[in-house]
């Protein structure tokens, strides 16, 4: 075998309390599409940051094309031909595309030249992009294109992609894969990080699986089943949520032509959303982030006021009532952002429990807090939802993402809501905690609560929803039964083609 492009041997990196990478070794060949698989917290990000020069390893060496490779900073890594597309985009909202691209290059030419190059590269790889647009106004898919083109302009030898598809529609994923295959055919190696197994099976030639910082296996994803890879990744057999069949109940919440202006410059207006939610059902709302999810949650929770009858709860218009009044009648919400929106990071779990549960659980009287009762409630949530924390006196900030998410969702579920709205319930949560949260939502629906789940994870929505609708530029498609929906149909719904029949005619 010829010399690999990049060889990692014995890379180790420890942080106080955790070993992020332990003796990690593998090779990446020229033009190879190599997958790096692992759960959240398995050490994937630390490893790629090491390759990109953002993290210095405690031990171990890297060899690039036979030469020792020790990038002191990202500039050095870029100069050696390593490029990276970040999971959370490293873009600057208030600047235009060309400026963003210039920031990621070592010796950028003048803006006009960059604009011309962007146009030629975007034509070559089928990634349409206008260099003069302001990045804050682009869709998630377009923003990713900015990052990819920024990398391509430097003719990288190795392109690192950190969870690139988590924000894309299935159609955008297809475009991305085509681009990546083209690059690989031209000799660019790609290190592809994901936990979406089907994607890896479709794209990659080789996979390295990490668990708790260690390499636990190598496989050829084209010949290994998704289930085997998942079990390698998680280390245990995965639990699939169960749900009971049940008849649809009566309408408890209805949105009638809900429209609202965008609350801020980079927000999305809601456009004429009409939908009914029945007791005991799970309505899944899919869509790429930034298509009105946050605004819809705000309109439902009461953070954003709307026309009185645009939101009706059991026939009463509640569009003008504030969040606590909505909680009182049984409409609860758990927003996406755990730190700072769903929970106050520096306050204890008890205090956080009081913040939303005071009304329904009667944790206050005459303006005074019942601390004993509040602590009891927080303890109950912690016990019932298996939140790993020393106790309710701990600050919300000290919990890991998955644990805090379990607490935040659990806090709402324990209040026995009639309607529960959750946004991205398992974003950035490891697989076992995600499974527990999904099961809890299904159990809640089984008790007769209407649950609205807004998520970008289509697999999740297919797993738990009874009906599925797509949110696109603030418009909601009409809901369809989730069972039997194909990926292509969902993709078309997400892409905004509400009328499937018409779309088929064109196809």
């Amino acid at each position: 075998m010829t010399e690999p492009l990049l060889r990692l041997s014995g890379l180790t990196k420890a942080y106080p309390g955790v070993v992020a990478n332990k003796d990690v070794s593998f090779d990446i060949g020229r033009g190879e599409v190599h997958a790096l698989l692992g759960e959240n917290g398995a050490g994937k990000s630390t490893l790629v940051k090491t390759i990109y020069g953002l993290v210095k390893p405690d031990a171990g060496t890297m060899t690039l094309e036979g030469q020792p490779f020790q990038p002191a900073e990202p500039r050095a890594a870029r100069a050696s031909g390593i490029a990276m597309v970040f999971q959370h985009f490293s873009l600057f909202d208030a600047m235009n595309v060309a400026e963003n691209i210039a920031l990621g290059m070592e010796n950028p030419p003048p803006q006009a030249e960059i604009a011309a190059k962007v146009r030629s590269v975007s034509d070559q790889y089928g990634l349409p992009l206008d260099p003069t647009r302001i990045v804050g106004e682009l869709s998630a898919g377009e923003r990713q294109r900015v990052e990819i083109i920024r990398c391509l302009l430097q003719d990288p030898k190795l392109l690192i992609m950190d969870e690139p598809t988590s924000v894309l529609t299935p159609q955008e994923v297809d475009i991305l894969f085509e681009t990546l295959r083209k690059l690989s055919a031209e000799g660019t190696a790609i290190l592809y990080i994901s936990h979406k197994l089907e994607e890896i099976r479709a794209l990659c030639e080789n996979a390295t699986v990490l668990r708790l910082g260690e390499v636990v296996g190598d496989c050829d994803p084209r010949e290994t089943s998704a289930r085997d890879m998942a079990e390698l990744m998680v280390g245990t057999v995965l639990h699939v949520p169960e749900r009971a069949e049940k008849p649809a109940g009566e309408v408890v919440l209805s949105l009638n032509g809900l429209s609202a202006k965008a609350p801020h410059r980079f927000g999305t207006p809601l456009r004429n959303i009409t939908v009914e939610v029945r007791t005991g059902e799970v309505l899944g709302i899919g869509g790429v982030a930034g298509n009105g999810q946050d605004e819809l949650v705000a309109a439902l929770s009461g953070e954003m006021k709307t026309g009185r009858d645009m939101v009706q709860f059991k026939g009463n218009g509640i569009g003008q009532t504030h969040p606590n009044a909505r909680r009182k009648i049984g409409l609860l919400a758990a927003p996406e952002e755990r730190m700072g929106h769903a929970a106050a990071p520096d306050m204890s779990l008890t205090e956080n429990a009081i913040l939303t549960a005071a009304t329904r659980k009667e944790l206050t009287s005459r303006g005074f807090v019942h601390w004993g009762k509040a602590r009891g409630f927080a303890k109950e949530v912690i016990a019932k939802f298996d939140v790993r924390t020393p106790g309710p006196q701990n600050a919300a900030r000290s919990l890991s993402g998955g644990n805090l998410q379990k607490f935040v969702i659990g806090r709402e579920i324990m209040q026995a809501p009639e309607v529960l709205v959750v946004n991205q319930p398992t974003w950035g949560v490891d697989a076992s905690a995600a499974a527990a949260i999904r099961q809890a939502l299904l159990d809640l629906a089984a008790t007769g609560t209407a649950v609205i789940v807004i998520s970008q994870d289509l697999d999740e929505l297919m797993e738990i929803s009874d009906r599925f609708a797509a949110l696109n530029e603030g418009r909601l498609s009409s809901p369809r039964p989730a069972q039997g929906l194909t990926v292509d149909e969902i993709g078309l719904m997400l892409g905004g083609a509400h009328d499937m029949e018409v779309a088929h005619d064109h196809a």
């Binding site: 953002l54 900073e73 870029r78 873009l91 600057f92 909202d93 600047m95 210039a102 920031l103 410059r265």
Partner: protein, 304 residues
């Protein structure tokens, strides 16, 4: 009241002089804020610059060396702020307020032996040819050199932010420090440099008061000019061109109300003295403020 006693040419000419200290302080703060740092200590850096400049100028007899000393003094006190906020990650608002109080106290201490002394004179430039143009000449081209230095700095900052690579990086750091760090830029280094530039500019603004406008040293002589500079940065939506407009508006109303007082206007002196502040607030409210830099006022620490 005798409005004819107000000479419009003199009025416009003194407007440029009145606006200069605010322009200097505000353009420095604009750069600091574009780098994502909110330094509320402008007033403290200005007054420190005022006394440093005065001490150096009196002892050397050279106003130019005085301005240099003021810039160095302003930059040095801003380093205290920079060290506390960028390395010890202290709260920027609280640290900035503390810097103002510290600057006021420090300047009073330094200035104890300098009360009642007159600063060495700093003659006006009579720019040949341009200064001879009727009307425009006396208004624009017959001032002391610092007026032009201030305008030059504003133009320089505008070009720096718009065209230079370093300006692009500075804006990137202020817009999204996490992303800038991920791309390998030195967030703290860029911010420290910006903070020092802001301190130096504020120092120049303060020295302009003690060396040119007054020209002597009195305690607390900046009298809120630093706060006006801060407000004008926001009013200008963090853009140098609008900043010039705001500073001239404030300077203009200040000069006008002084002239009205002198002309014996029948409005109470208190109301006239309020006018510049009211006018600035009114314009600030009416003009829609632009978007602030994304990371403004947030501490940055390169963790994982």
């Amino acid at each position: 009241m005798d409005l004819t006693s107000i000479n419009p040419i003199l009025l416009l000419a003194s407007l440029m002089v009145a606006a200069t200290p605010i322009i200097l302080a505000a353009i420095g703060e604009l750069v600091v804020e574009r780098a994502g740092v909110l330094n509320l200590g402008v007033e403290g850096m200005m007054i420190t610059g005022a006394i440093c400049g005065f001490v150096v100028a009196v002892n050397t007899g050279s106003p130019w060396l005085g301005f240099l000393g003021a810039a160095v003094g302003g930059a040095l006190v801003s380093l205290v702020f920079g060290f506390l906020t960028q390395f010890l990650l202290s709260n920027q608002v609280a640290t900035g307020l503390a810097l103002t109080l510290f600057g006021l106290g420090l300047s009073a201490l330094m200035g104890q032996g300098y009360i009642g002394i007159k600063a060495p004179s700093f003659p006006d430039w009579h720019i040949p040819l341009l200064g001879d143009i009727p009307i425009i000449g006396p208004i624009i081209f017959q001032h002391d050199p610092m007026v032009y230095v201030g305008l030059f700095i504003v133009a320089g900052v505008w070009a720096f932010l718009k065209y230079s690579r370093a300006g692009l990086i500075l804006r990137a750091v202020g817009e999204n420090h996490e992303a800038a760090h991920a791309l390998g830029y030195h967030v703290v280094r860029v911010r420290m440099l910006a903070i020092m530039f802001g301190g130096a500019c504020a120092g120049l603004g303060g020295a302009y008061l003690s060396l040119v406008r007054v020209p002597q040293w009195t305690e607390g002589m900046t009298a809120g000019a630093g706060w006006i500079a801060l407000a004008i940065v926001v009013f200008a939506s963090w853009r140098p061109g609008r900043l010039l407009l705001g500073a001239y508006l404030f300077g203009g109303v200040t000069v006008l109300q002084l002239n009205l007082q002198a002309a014996g206007a029948e409005i109470g002196v208190e109301y006239l003295s309020m006018a510049p502040y009211l006018a600035t607030i009114a314009v600030l409210v009416i003009m829609r403020a632009g978007r602030a830099p994304g990371s403004l006022g947030q501490s940055f620490h390169a963790s994982r």
